[in-house]
Symmetry: C2
Subunit: 220 residues, 2 copies
């Protein structure tokens, strides 16, 4: 099998790549890296990616890393089911969606979820609350957009949907931690707060192959 | 003239777009936004970009923002002088270069330069020093790459060069501030510390039209 994907359970960045491969219905070999075993620091893996990060993709002799770069590569190499559009204007706006996730979602998701997942919340309550407030403002915008169409850019799933999606279950998993309860972060029940985003999330979760992308340690 | 670019003097993000337009030799109308006059918060500008940020590009009736999305749009719309390659593998690696700038350069440049430009350095000396140390590690990698080729990806200028470049004069301008002197940040003289990056920067500065992209307030 020519495509190999190195990923980590729960990495939102790696999840994007798995979703893209499933949407494009490309066969791939799953290489699940266990960070707890330092598998991202082995000499073999560092030869593929000197930064020791996932996702990293190998396609025959070719190696590429950084999640968005992998999506761009896959879309150019395997253009069936285009993720970045075919008209220049669509390409621009889909990349705009992608960039907005990187600029406005990634950081507050990390700031909100890390203290909740690690259990080391003490002293970080205001950081978590401020990040949640930023995310609410962004999710309101997404919910309004998704009230008018099935996917972020209309009737067709694009890279913007794939890049945004993994942060939503990550956010909800953190919000459901008992330690988050007293903070009243206001994301749950998600379907009541953000009905259009919830419908959109459910549509992604019905994609063929979605189960293969789901973080294995979340099932435990 | 059909292309209009809204930019701000000294914005590294906007600078990328101006460089791309010059490299592609596209005619454009320069719309210099003055933040001090709140021109990015006018109703007219917010209709183009609800976030009130530069760069924002208008091409006829089409509007796109976020610097990398603008570059992707321009490259698809005006493919002469390709910035993201033509083979899928080149596209992947050029996007990898772009993503690495976003992931590893943007934040430490901001952390190092803002206290130096604002003059509000007190209490932030260790933040500035730590950011400078991160940047030195990255610049060493770039310098080693540029010892072997003219541009980041070989003989041809690509989007990676354009996305990285504006941070270098920004960094050097901050490092040359008198307030930075006692911190001994170690970037100057740049040509001695990073000779290959210095040669690469000079090559960009010799591109036709470069003078039009230079931050006007830096000349004062």
């Amino acid at each position: 099998m020519s495509i190999q994907v190195y990923w980590g359970s729960g990495s939102a960045f790696a999840w994007r790549v798995l979703l893209a491969l499933e949407v494009k219905q490309l066969a791939y070999e799953s290489k699940l890296i266990e960070f707890s075993k330092q598998e991202h620091k082995t000499a073999e893996f560092l030869r593929l990616n000197p930064r020791g990060k996932v996702p990293t993709l190998r396609d025959g002799d070719f190696v590429v890393y950084e999640s968005i770069a992998i999506l761009q590569y896959l879309d150019r190499k395997y253009p069936q089911v285009p993720l970045f559009g075919t008209r220049a204007e669509d390409t621009g706006l889909i990349n705009q969606d992608v960039c907005e996730v990187l600029s406005y979602i990634e950081k507050p998701v990390s700031q909100m979820t890390r203290p909740l997942f690690s259990g080391e919340l003490a002293g970080k309550e205001s950081q978590v609350r401020e990040a949640a407030a930023i995310l609410h403002r962004e999710l309101q915008q997404y919910d309004a957009r998704l009230a008018r169409c099935s996917w972020l850019r209309g009737d067709t799933l694009t890279a913007g949907d794939i890049v945004l999606y993994p942060f939503i279950p990550t956010l909800l998993r953190a919000a459901a931690k008992p330690v988050a309860g007293p903070l009243n972060l206001g994301f749950l029940p998600f379907g009541e707060r953000y009905p259009h985003m919830a419908r959109w999330s459910a549509a992604i979760e019905k994609l063929p192959g979605y189960a293969r992308t789901y973080p294995p340690h979340w099932r435990q």
